[in-house]
């Protein structure tokens, strides 16, 4: 006969949350989406050092982003578990595929397929959407603790401008990073200005070193393909996103400048010409034109 204390212990064990969910309970929710909840957290605290006299200070705790694809009650549970598993593995694999190819994406930190949680490097920066001043998407949550922490879009723009980061070079860098991703045969599947971030680089060794980098995020809908058609659709999705939120930059005179997406495309083409195969760029451009035509026809038919 099992002892009472063992029974109690078993019960406690059974009701204990899986570790990753218990960590999430302690984490700061930053976005509640339809598919996933996104948290800022830390996987490992700053350690206790023994002997404490050791010369180097303990390493700081590193922030991570946890993305929890929570169970959906409107789906059959078996199907839901399968879909969650696929999305989590798909997103993790895409991140690693990009890392290998030198595409700037957050490093992978933790995968729990069963609980549907993915942990990645925290990118300290702003979404391109914020930088361009397109306003909030609406579902980000205000910072819990900081009144001053959440900078106003205007402040971010002013600060970056002060540092010498202008919109055109930012947009071209966006295009170049997408090109690198496509050349790694990754299709993003959800290119919007919220799914790319700008991060300032640490102090430069030479004045020619870049000031910032663009980091692509949110690979939940990504796939692997090298087909010009898939690449063109990826670009077209972003073109539509620009058309609806931040189409053109304004010149100091108040006149309209070059459309934003044109700048993205410029950076994209330059990178594909440089690193891709011969003729690859013109094949994608041709496709993009066809995809645009289909898009227009569709919207005319209504």
């Amino acid at each position: 006969m099992p002892s009472l204390s063992k029974d109690v212990k078993a019960q406690v064990e059974a009701t204990r949350l899986p570790p990753i969910l218990s960590l999430i309970e302690q984490s700061q929710l930053i976005k509640q989406g339809a598919e996933a909840k996104v948290y800022k957290s830390t996987l490992f605290p700053s350690p206790l050092c023994t002997p404490s006299s050791s010369s180097s200070p303990p390493p700081p705790a590193l922030p991570v982003l946890l993305k929890h694809r929570f169970p959906k009650t409107y789906r059959h549970s078996t199907l839901d578990a399968l879909l969650t598993r696929q999305r989590v593995t798909g997103e993790s694999r895409a991140l690693v595929r990009c890392l290998k190819a030198g595409v700037k994406v957050p490093g992978l930190r933790c995968v729990d397929v069963k609980q549907g949680v993915l942990g990645m490097e925290w990118i300290e920066g702003w979404s391109v959407r914020e930088v361009l001043g397109g306003g909030q998407e609406g579902d980000e949550l205000p910072d819990e603790d900081g009144e001053e922490e959440e900078e106003e879009p205007d402040d971010v723009q002013e600060m970056l401008k002060g540092l010498g980061v202008d919109h055109d070079s930012l947009l071209q860098a966006v295009g170049a990073e997408i090109a690198k991703m496509h050349l790694a045969e990754v299709i993003h599947g959800d290119l919007t200005t919220s799914n790319m971030m700008v991060r300032l680089l640490p102090t430069r060794a030479s004045p020619n070193d870049p000031l910032f980098e663009v980091v692509l995020i949110d690979f939940g809908l990504s796939s692997v393909s090298f087909l010009p058609e898939d690449r063109a659709v990826d670009l077209y999705v972003l073109e539509r996103a620009f058309a609806s939120t931040h189409p053109v930059s304004l010149l100091p005179s108040g006149e309209e400048g070059v459309p934003h997406f044109e700048q993205v495309l410029l950076g994209y083409k330059r990178a594909v010409e440089e690193k891709g195969k011969k003729g690859e760029c013109s094949r994608i451009e041709k496709r993009l034109e066809e995809v645009r035509m289909r898009g227009r026809k569709r919207s005319m038919v209504g």
Partner: protein, 208 residues
């Protein structure tokens, strides 16, 4: 030695780096012998002394590389999905990209010629700042190697080319990765890229 309190796992993880060790071969012999000792007091006492993960530190790129393997081992344990006998051997298994347990020991475990040794001890969490049990664990580590601990900052850049980048690239299949081939060999950028790829490979193992 560094001790990481992980309340969500209910454990504290103690990491110690010892370099250069001079008794790798003898330690290994002890490890092998301990596994066949009878379950009497003496046998259990010897096994308790050796209750660590013995990792060849030449095969680690950073503390985060090792911690990621520890974390994935703990997640597997919580899921009742350990592929090996103990959470300590599971750490070695999580470092290995393949599914072969023997290979994981061969590639990442203490070998007869190991020069730098990382010891991992996972203990139930007592309190977040338990320096007395940390002292006790450090002295158990020191008993094994007869050495003072080194800073874990050395991982990935062990002195005298002590980090085995060649084997890391081979086992994690990184040799054709553009992010590595496009960086000058030995540069800080190349080291950082290698670290990111190794961490990513460990985290991805469950999803690979």
């Amino acid at each position: 030695m560094e001790s990481f309190a992980l309340p969500h796992h209910g454990v504290t993880v103690h990491l110690g780096l010892f370099s250069p060790i001079s008794n790798a071969s003898a330690l290994r012999t002890r490890l092998v012998a301990a596994s066949t000792l009878p379950a009497d007091d003496e046998g259990e006492a010897e096994r308790a002394k050796l209750d660590f993960a013995f990792v060849d530190a030449a095969m680690l790129t950073s503390r985060l590389h090792l911690l990621t393997a520890v974390q994935q081992a703990l997640l597997a344990q919580a899921d009742d999905a350990l592929k090996t006998k103990t959470v300590h051997s599971e750490v070695l298994f999580q470092l290995e990209p393949g599914t072969n347990i023997t290979e994981s020991l061969k590639h990442f475990g203490l070998g007869p010629t190991t020069k730098s040794l990382a010891l991992v001890h996972i203990a139930p969490l007592t309190s977040v700042d338990d320096s007395s049990s940390a002292e006790a664990i450090l002295s158990r580590m020191k008993d094994l190697v007869q050495l003072e601990p080194s800073s874990l900052d050395l991982l990935g850049q062990l002195p005298d080319g002590g980090t085995n980048e060649k084997s890391l690239r081979k086992y994690y299949k990184l040799n054709t990765d553009i992010v590595l081939t496009s960086q000058p060999a030995g540069s800080p950028q190349a080291r950082q890229a290698l670290d990111q790829l190794c961490i990513g490979a460990v985290a991805l193992k469950v999803a690979a």
